[in-house]
Every structure is written in C-alpha cells, then in structure tokens.
C-alpha cells in the first residue's frame, strides 16, 4: 500500500507521459546554456589571466577586484541583480541572457584565478629563456608559458566548470525554460511530484558522466608532478 502510494506519487507513468517531452526540451536548453557559459567564461578568464601576466599595475588591480567580487558573490544574487535590478535603468535582458551573463562572469572570475595560478607555477627561467631567444612577450606567453600552465589547470577547471554549469538550474528562478523550470511547473500543474523525479533523473543523465569523467581527469592531470 505504502509502496503503491510512493509509486503513484513519484513514478506515475500517466503524469510522466504528459511531461517527459517538456523535460527533454529543458535538457536541450540546459545543455546549450551550459555550453555558452563554459565558452564565454573560459575565454574571458584566460584573456584576463593573460592580461594580468603583463604586470601592468592598474590593469592587474582591476582584474583582481573583478575576480574577488565574482568569487564572493553568490551566483543567484548576480542573476537576480542582472534580471531584476537592471530593468530599472532600462537595461532589461531576457532571463536566458541574464543567467548566461551572470554565470559567465562567475566562471570567468574563477577561471582567471586558476589560469593565473597555473601561469605563476611555471618557473621564471622559462620566460627568461624564451625572451632571450628573441620571442616577444606575447609569443613567450602563448608558445612557452601557457602550454605548461594549462596542464596544471585542467583538474581544478573541470571541477569549477561542473559546479557552474550545474548553476544553470538557478535560471529557473528567473523563469529560464530549463529542466527544473519544466519540472517544478509540471509538478504543480499535475499536483504530483513525478515531473520532479523526471527532472532529477535528467540532471543525473546529463551530469553523472561529467562527474565521473572529472574523477578520471583528476587522477590523470593531478596537481602533483
């Protein structure tokens, strides 16, 4: 009896058949939102770390302030400020753009710190040797320092990317039509939590392989040498 009620509530085939297409659509939105965030966040983080490596004080200062601020601010707060506060000054953006921008900024801040730590870990002699062969500062950075630095950043970057792409769920708070948006609106519409089960399953399907992959990455590219 108990079991039957449990099945009726959480694994209701009837309800599931009505909502699974929505959830699949949500998975697609989650996936491309996550891909967009990873692309912008990593590119911006790398660019900032490279800019910082030229040791131009005012620029470095601004970068450090940016990285500190977006590592301190909870991502949900950033999303809500972008989505609910900016319209007051006629800078309205869609829920999707707000979520994308907020999480990209957060990822950029963390990625900058990780790339920067990687750059610092390359011995100074490498720069000096490259510069003395006649390479420019930028060439030294791109061809000598970064290839060595990036190796060390792979494990922490993977973890951070997972953490932040999971943050796409936060988009549901401002009604981005991703998995959890469909799952919770479906659950309240049907008066049955089965859509939530589907949504949870969708996340496991999307992210469990990534988490297991990161476990492999961690042993493959561990920080120790």
């Amino acid at each position: 009896m108990e079991l039957q009620r449990l099945a009726f509530s959480f694994f209701n085939g009837d309800v599931a058949s009505r909502y699974w297409l929505d959830i699949v659509h949500g998975m697609w939105v989650t996936t491309y939102l996550a891909a967009a965030i990873v692309a912008t966040g990593l590119a911006a983080g790398l660019a900032l770390a490279m800019a910082r490596s030229f040791h131009f004080r005012p620029a470095s200062f601004v970068i450090v302030v940016f990285a500190d601020a977006f590592r301190a601010l909870p991502p949900l707060v950033v999303i809500i400020v972008l989505f609910f506060a900016f319209p007051y000054v006629d800078l309205a953006m869609s829920a999707f753009s707000a979520t994308w921008l907020a999480l990209s900024l957060v990822l950029a801040a963390f990625a900058e710190e990780i790339f920067w730590a990687g750059i610092l870990s390359v011995p100074k002699g490498q720069t000096e040797a490259a510069r003395s062969t006649g390479m420019s500062r930028l060439q030294t950075l791109v061809y000598v320092i970064l290839p060595q630095a990036v190796r060390l950043t792979i494990a922490p970057l993977t973890n951070r990317m997972i953490a932040i792409t999971k943050g796409t769920a936060l988009g549901s708070v401002v009604a981005v039509h991703e998995i959890i948006y469909y799952a919770s609106s479906g659950a309240s519409e049907a008066g049955n939590p089965t859509p939530l089960t589907l949504g949870a399953a969708a996340y496991v399907v999307l992210f469990l392989p990534v988490v297991m992959f990161s476990r492999w990455i961690e042993t493959r590219f561990a920080w120790k040498r």
């Binding site: 500190d68 949900l76 400020v81 506060a85 919770s184 939530l196 089960t197 949870a200 992210f207 040498r225």
Partner: protein
C-alpha cells in the same frame, strides 16, 4: 547618473529596508552556522568510512558522492521540498533546507576529507599503532590533524561555496538575506534592496575569498 542613484542607491529606501535586510543577514548567518558544521561532520564520516577500505562500502560511498555531486543543489532542494509532503512527511522549512544541504555538502566535504586522509603516508598510522595507540586514537591524534592541514585550503574554499549556496533557500521562501531583499524590492519598486544585499554579501564573504586565495597561492608556491 541621477536615475542610477535613484534606483540603485536610494538612501530613503535603504533606510526603510535596512532592518529587514539585517534580519535576513541574521538568518543567513544562522543557517550557515547550522549547515557548515553538519556538512563538515557528515563529510568527515563519509571519508572515514571510505578509509576503512571495505570494497562494497567504498563502492557505495563513491556512488553516493558522485550522485549528489551530479545533482544541482537547487534541484535537490526543490525535490525534497516538493516531494516530502507526498511521503506524508512535514518538515519545517529550516529542516528541508538542512536536509538538502546535508546530502549535498556531505559529498563535497567527503571528497575533500578523503583526499586528505589519503595524503597521510601509511607509515604514520603504522608508527602510531606500534606505539600502542588504538585505531581510534591513531585516527584522532595522528591521521586527522595531518589530513585536515593538508586539505585546509579546499575545506575553506568549500565552506565559502556552502555559505554562498544558502541563497538557494530563498527560492522556497526561507527568509534569509536574498529573500528579504527580493521582497523589499517588490514592495518598494526599487532596486536598492537587492543592490544592498549584493554589497552585504560582498562585504561578508570577501575576507574569506582573500583567505582562500592566499592559502591556494601558498600551496602552489610550496610545490
């Protein structure tokens, strides 16, 4: 410019919302003071169980940890919030949030402590045991202090993440800082309360960010 001051940094509105925001800060701190120790304790338990190296237990724990790391915390929270009543369980809001955090943070802290325990050379335990310390004493006095020190930057950095995650509780109507700020914004038709809340988070958490940065750079410098 005038307009930006008016809607983002409006002193009159801030004055009205201030007591409300401060009550939110208190709740955020309270929530953090509950969920961080719960997470640390349960994570340590997960790691110590793993450290027993019983094949099936370890497999189960890895599955548990990976499962909850794959789950966005918000999904977990909404699932528990929406699902428990159907099981006939009526948890207060605080309990719902604490349960979701327990499941989520125990796996993150568990992974960190596990790495810490593994970083202590086996010789340490052997030496301690051969001096006549019991298994429990060896763990408590010899292994744990070294393990904790080795992963201290990760522990602090995860604690920062957990405190940031308390904002999720606002989604189910728990009246912490973000929730109160959103309500104040809706009541006053002005963005000042959320901007103020963002600044409060910044002021509260910035020292922790600096600390994490310093510890991480130090540990890289050692290598």
């Amino acid at each position: 410019m005038e307009q930006i001051l008016q809607v983002f940094f409006n002193a009159a509105i801030l004055e009205r919302a201030w007591p409300f925001l401060m009550r939110g800060v208190t709740m955020t701190l309270l929530l953090s003071l509950v969920v961080v120790p719960i997470g640390l304790a349960s994570g340590l338990a997960v790691a110590m169980l793993y450290h027993l190296h019983r094949k099936w237990l370890s497999r189960f724990l890895i599955a548990y940890v990976d499962f909850f790391r794959a789950f966005p915390p918000l999904v977990l929270l909404l699932f528990i919030y929406g699902g428990l009543p159907f099981l006939g369980i009526d948890l207060p809001l605080f309990g719902t949030v604490a349960l979701a955090f327990l499941l989520n943070t125990s796996s993150y802290y568990g992974e960190i402590f596990r790495a810490g325990l593994e970083s202590v050379p086996a010789g340490q335990a052997e030496a301690a045991r051969s001096t006549g310390l019991s298994r429990g004493q060896t763990m408590l006095w010899v292994i744990l202090p070294q393990a904790t020190r080795n992963v201290l930057p990760d522990l602090i950095s995860n604690t920062l993440e957990v405190i940031k995650l308390t904002t999720l509780a606002s989604v189910i109507g728990f009246t912490e800082l973000l929730n109160n700020a959103r309500n104040a914004q809706a009541l006053t038709y002005n963005a000042t309360p959320i901007v103020a809340a963002a600044l409060i988070y910044l002021v509260l958490l910035w020292p922790l960010v600096r600390l994490v940065s310093r510890l991480e750079h130090k540990s890289i410098a050692v290598r």
